[in-house]
């Protein structure tokens, strides 16, 4: 459902073994699975095909060699005769240069039991094994050892010549090295061609899969946008190029996002309703023990106040949406409205509130969150200011991961010493018990700023009082 979560959790192992991690991630990915499985099958098919081709070529070449050996054997038999004296001879010479050159690779030998065999000149001082004990009156092929360490393809046949009583063992052989070389050349060519095919197929697969999965990656990017608050729903739903079979998925995800949004809204409403429902009875309890100095009265008052702090805290937390809306809130108008509300609530205090702001500036977030941020900061400034509160807003683009709004609020009140500023963010912390309020204001400001990936810092304002610098994501 959420790919970025999975990536996030596998991060630590990646930092230890970056290459292994990346490879593992590729194999685990959809692209990796599709490509890997296709490559494995292609590889198996190509290897089997290669073996078949190589075997076929080898048997073709051997058959060819055997045919030639048979022909030569027939020729040899044809020119053989036995003289009336019983002497074996050829009635014409076997005029082939290959049988004359020593160790040429082409040999013949005719042998009779108990007699010195006749050999081709090429055999020189080597004699083939006549193997008279294995007599065969049909043509036999085998592999035999030859001169000069050669490996020979041997055709042999036992023949009884018409005028003789003896059996003559005809042998004719050729060096296998040439044949083997041809086979090796062919195999080498075959492997190269198959490797090239495998490489090309893999490349084509990667391209095909990545093209095929492009809509999925688009959906992933859209989901990322939704999570980061740059979009409210998956934008792919309106893309006419989205494949038909992915449409239901995108619509389901959008439905889920809507439902999730509704659930969050409902949960927030429930917490809000509960908190609000508690407040009226709390008011009643608080007022009924007001001025009651007995121990019982004070206990009730103290605990009522505690309940109030809890209710306020959780109500405010529940209200924080803490995410971009993708719409953008015009900041200046809102600050002016809030400044007006703060001035009204400040009552008799004659405050000069100035807002210096460019009307095009937008905050990337919920109106309620912005109201809570600026309302609390301005309210605090108005409580402490002697006569002036100044607000300036600028947009920062340089050197930041995303554009931010810098909102500065300063007052001319007494300010807060540097060592006490941190404690202003603590829940329920009030530096002056005389002022009304629950002391939740600045704590909630920091909570909201954190949820938006912004921050809030306190300083001494140019006007002399407290300066609040707030950074928030801009739209």
């Amino acid at each position: 459902m959420n790919p970025s979560d999975n990536n996030g959790s596998s991060e630590p192992s990646q930092t230890v073994e970056p290459d292994a991690g990346r490879a593992a991630r590729f194999i685990g990915s959809l692209t990796g699975r599709l490509v890997m499985s296709a490559v494995v099958w292609s590889f198996v098919a190509l290897v089997v095909g290669g073996f078949v081709l190589s075997f076929a070529f080898r048997s073709y070449v051997l058959t060819d060699v055997d045919k030639r050996l048979e022909l030569l054997l027939d020729t040899l038999v044809g020119i053989s005769e036995v003289s009336p004296e019983g002497e074996f001879r050829f009635n014409q010479p076997l005029a082939d240069q290959r049988f004359l050159t020593p160790y040429s690779g082409w040999y013949w030998q005719v042998s009779a039991e108990g007699a010195e065999p006749l050999r081709s000149r090429s055999l020189w001082d080597f004699a083939l094994d006549a193997r008279h004990e294995q007599r065969s009156f049909s043509l036999r092929y085998s592999i035999a050892a030859g001169p000069d360490g050669q490996q020979l393809r041997l055709a042999e046949h036992d023949i009884i010549l018409p005028e003789a009583e003896q059996v003559f063992h005809y042998q004719i052989a050729t060096n296998m090295a040439e044949v083997q070389a041809a086979i090796n050349r062919f195999n080498w060519l075959l492997v190269s061609a198959l490797a090239l095919i495998l490489f090309t197929v893999t490349l084509a697969l990667v391209l095909q899969v990545s093209y095929g999965l492009r809509p999925l990656r688009q959906i992933k990017r859209d989901l990322g946008d939704v999570r980061a608050g740059r979009a409210a729903r998956l934008a792919s739903a309106d893309d006419p190029k989205l494949p038909q079979d992915l449409k239901p998925l995108v619509e389901e995800i959008n439905g889920l996002i809507d439902q999730n949004h509704k659930l969050v809204q409902r949960a927030r409403t429930h917490v809000g309703n509960l908190a609000h429902a508690l407040k009226t009875p709390l008011s009643v309890i608080q007022n009924s023990v007001d001025g009651d100095d007995s121990e019982r009265g004070e206990t009730i008052a103290r605990h009522t106040k505690e309940i109030r702090v809890h209710v306020d805290h959780h109500l405010k937390r529940a209200r924080i949406a803490g995410g971009g809306t993708g719409v953008g809130l015009p900041v200046c108008d809102r600050i002016k409205k809030l400044a007006n509300a703060v001035a009204v609530i400040a009552g008799d205090k004659q405050l000069a509130m100035s807002v210096d702001c460019d009307s095009g500036l937008m905050f990337d977030g919920e109106k309620e969150d912005f109201d809570e941020l600026l309302g609390n900061i301005l309210d605090n400034a108005a409580k402490w200011a002697a006569s002036k509160v100044e607000v300036t807003v600028v947009r920062l683009d340089q050197g930041l991961r995303r554009p931010m709004l810098e909102i500065q609020v300063s007052d001319d009140g007494p300010g807060v010493p540097a060592d006490k500023r941190d404690s202003m963010f603590d829940r329920g912390q009030r530096l002056d018990e005389q002022m009304p309020g629950t002391g939740l204001g600045l704590a909630i400001v920091r909570d909201i700023a954190d949820m938006y990936g912004g921050n809030v810092k306190l300083s001494t304002a140019p006007l002399g009082g407290l300066g609040v610098r707030l950074l928030l994501p801009a739209k």
Partner: protein, 223 residues
């Protein structure tokens, strides 16, 4: 000063009413939006304390209806809805102040005093006419620095007149703003009260405008 309390929680409304009574206000209570709207529409109030979450008609609608009908009395919203967005919306609907529950009674009273004073055009919490000083914060009246003891009814009357100094106030208006709606309105009692106040102050700041009513005015040559 006559205040309208529109609050559906009977106990809380009673507590507010008791505190207003102790502080010298006259009040009427409505427990739903419709009744509240009717009272605000027909009776003259110096201020309204309005809850937002009301049965029948919600507080914001009541307020918008009043403002659409040109009813200008100051309205303080008293609600459990205390987000800044709610506050901005409440004030946009025409409220003059906004107090979140749970609240401290002292704050409610202080805000109410300031609200009434501001809507009458008074900037200081101490109303001064000639030698007479009326401190709205503690309900003390002094003449030339020495305290004057007034009864609750006498103080209500003087306070209303001094909030609207320079203006002619009819006896009917005084009756309406000093007594709640069930009071038997006999304007002769007003005259009795005014005479008693005049005696106690010993400074002629209350002028009778024949046939019309009373006016607070200090002329130096009277001194």
């Amino acid at each position: 000063m006559r205040i309208l309390i529109v609050e559906d929680d009977v106990t809380l409304a009673g507590q507010i009413a008791d505190n207003l009574k102790d502080a010298g206000y006259t009040y009427d209570v409505a427990h739903d939006g419709e009744e509240g709207h009717f009272l605000g529409d027909t009776e003259p109030y110096d201020a309204v304390i309005l809850d937002l979450g009301l049965p029948i008609m919600d507080g914001a609608s009541v307020l918008k209806k009043w403002r659409a009908d040109d009813k200008k009395m100051p309205v303080m919203i008293l609600t459990a809805r205390d987000s800044w967005t709610d506050k901005v919306e409440g004030l946009d609907a025409g409220a003059d102040d906004y107090l979140a529950k749970p609240f401290i009674v002292e704050e409610l009273l202080a805000r109410l005093r300031a609200l009434i004073r501001r809507s009458a055009g008074q900037t200081s919490p101490v109303l001064a006419v000639g030698p007479v000083r009326l401190d709205t914060r503690n309900s003390k009246v002094t003449v030339d620095g020495s305290a004057v003891k007034l009864t609750a009814q006498e103080f209500k009357l003087l306070s209303y007149l001094m909030h609207h100094d320079g203006k002619v106030i009819s006896r009917t208006e005084l009756t309406e703003h000093i007594y709640d709606q069930d009071f038997d309105k006999d304007s002769n009692t007003i005259e009795v009260f005014v005479n008693r106040i005049r005696k106690k102050l010993a400074a002629p700041i209350i002028q009778t405008v024949r046939g019309l009513g009373y006016r607070i005015e200090w002329e130096d040559d009277n001194a």
